[in-house]
């Protein structure tokens, strides 16, 4: 049952990820990305990490991509015309890099299979909270300061123009 759901969700995720890159309509691109992130959230839920699943939908699918959609719609980006093959070396380079990425992915999957399965379930809200405010407190605070710096930087850049 769980395996069947996983393969279904994985297939949906891969297809929508391809659509997110390949479709010519920018709005469809963003929506496909929403579907991809949603299927990743379902995969988290299948692994028992329900908090992560909910956070994934809440933060990425629900908030960030709405902003993406907002920008795409405001700019009124038209559907892209077929550019043809202007740079022939791109296809070769792309295929080579894809092969490299696939090899890397396979190595990671093999390593995960070789590693011992994680003991306790660590995906619940409580476990995550304890880790974030204990073991990983410094990294957690560091990232929040980093995000704040990015925010201030963006404000400065905007203000300079006016």
């Amino acid at each position: 049952m769980g395996t069947a759901v996983f393969y279904l969700v994985a297939a949906v995720g891969v297809v929508s990820a391809i659509a997110a890159m390949a479709h010519r309509n920018p709005v469809v691109n963003v929506l496909s990305l929403v579907v991809t992130l949603f299927s990743i959230a379902v995969s988290y839920a299948l692994l028992g990490a329900e908090f992560l699943a909910a956070a994934q939908i809440l933060v990425y699918a629900g908030a960030i991509l709405v902003l993406f959609l907002f920008v795409v719609m405001l700019l009124g980006a038209p559907a892209e015309p077929d550019a043809g093959e202007s740079r022939p070396f791109q296809r070769t380079a792309g295929l080579a890099l894809a092969a490299l990425a696939a090899a890397g992915g396979a190595a990671v999957v093999a390593a995960i299979h070789a590693a011992a399965p994680a003991g306790a379930l660590r995906g619940t809200a409580q476990a995550l909270g304890v880790m974030l405010t204990g073991e990983y407190l410094f990294a957690f605070e560091f990232i929040s300061v980093l995000l704040l710096a990015a925010l201030v930087g963006a404000l400065v850049l905007v203000k300079r123009k006016h």
């Binding site: 469809v28 929403v34 908090f51 909910a54 629900g62 908030a63 959609l69 907002f70 719609m73």
Partner: protein, 351 residues
């Protein structure tokens, strides 16, 4: 195994049926309530007190011409109302609406009356799925290929993002006090005990500010007056659903009312003790079940009426006022509430 599946399926059917029936009832309440507030009669011809009016309206909408304008982007145009309805139906499953207690049906324990009892992330599910609802409105606005629709869709997305933050912060105060994300435990913590022997320990008492922020934010989230800038018929004709007709239009209408029901249920659950009621310790089994349903129903009805009452009493906000209220009014207040809950819990003023 099978008994549990049957009980779960029954809960789903009962919930979906109840919510959809409430949508019809609310349509009648809205029209009669508006008439009452404006000192006129309202629809009173079809059935006793006009109670069958929603049925007639539904039949009318079903048989109206279902036309798709020529310039819309067809796939997304058709998808938008589906997203709205699906999301609206998905949110209700984590709300506990009664006490099943020790009643057994076909050998399976009924447990608390809730569709998904073991979802540890209860509230987060609601917020997460609820935040997807904006796609229905934004896509409707964009795919209609109409400047009024687009403006409505854009306004709505900006509004939802602004108010979601205050709403989530207000909910956070309740979660801190309850120590759990599961709504059943949020309810359980509010029941049975009293302050000064008479005031039930509902979250609304220590977190009055949080409650007010939450109610206001929820009005904005459901796109109801005074925050219905996404449709604002005086300036945007009908906003995001201007190009929709027949049942596709009805889908948006239905999802608005379903969101209202969910929002009211959430206010009751988070701040007004859910299905608990004073003196419930004396009951068990079927009497407790009936009384808890009644308690939940009465509270729910009050907040549903509040939605109607406010809609027909207040004028619409201007867009800049809406944004100012969200960012400069509600957000600091919600933060203040959060700080207060933290201090009060540390000092032991509230458990």
């Amino acid at each position: 195994m099978w008994a549990e599946i049957i009980v779960s399926a029954a809960k789903v059917l009962v919930i979906a049926g109840t919510v959809l029936t409430l949508v019809a009832v609310m349509e009648w309440v809205e029209r009669r309530g508006a008439a009452f507030i404006q000192d006129r009669l309202g629809p009173n011809r079809v059935g006793p007190l006009g109670l069958f009016q929603p049925l007639v309206d539904a039949v009318k909408l079903l048989f109206k011409e279902d036309l798709t304008p020529a310039n819309v982007s067809r796939g997304l145009y058709l998808l938008a109302p589906m997203i709205s309805v699906t999301v609206a139906l998905m949110t209700f499953i984590v709300i506990p609406f009664g006490a099943g207690g020790d009643i057994t049906i076909f050998g399976a324990r009924l447990g608390g009356l809730i569709v998904a009892p073991d979802l540890g992330v209860g509230v987060l599910w609601l917020l997460a799925v609820g935040s997807l609802g904006v796609y229905g409105i934004v896509l409707a606005g964009w795919s209609s290929n109409n400047k009024y629709s687009l403006l409505g869709g854009l306004r709505s997305s900006a509004q939802l993002i602004s108010y979601e933050l205050s709403m989530t912060l207000a909910v956070l105060g309740v979660l801190m006090a309850s120590g759990s994300l599961n709504l059943e435990q949020v309810v359980a913590r509010q029941g049975g005990q009293f302050w000064l022997g008479a005031i039930p320990q509902w979250n609304v008492v220590p977190q009055m500010i949080g409650c007010v922020v939450f109610v206001v934010a929820v009005f904005a989230e459901t796109n109801r007056l005074p925050f219905d800038l996404a449709e604002a018929e005086t300036e945007l004709v009908a906003g995001y659903h201007v190009e929709y007709s027949s049942m596709k239009f009805a889908a948006f209408l239905m999802s608005e009312y379903m969101n209202m029901v969910t929002a009211s249920a959430l206010i009751v659950t988070l701040f007004f003790g859910g299905w608990t009621f004073p003196g419930m310790g004396r009951f068990s089994g079927w009497p407790l079940l009936v009384l808890s349903l009644l308690s939940f129903g009465i509270k729910l009805a009050f907040f549903l009426w509040l939605f109607v009452w406010v809609r027909w009493s207040l004028p619409r906000f201007r867009y800049d006022q809406l944004m100012r209220l969200g960012w400069k009014g509600l957000l600091p207040l919600a933060t203040l509430n959060l700080v207060w809950v933290g201090v009060a819990m540390t000092m032991g003023w509230i458990r």
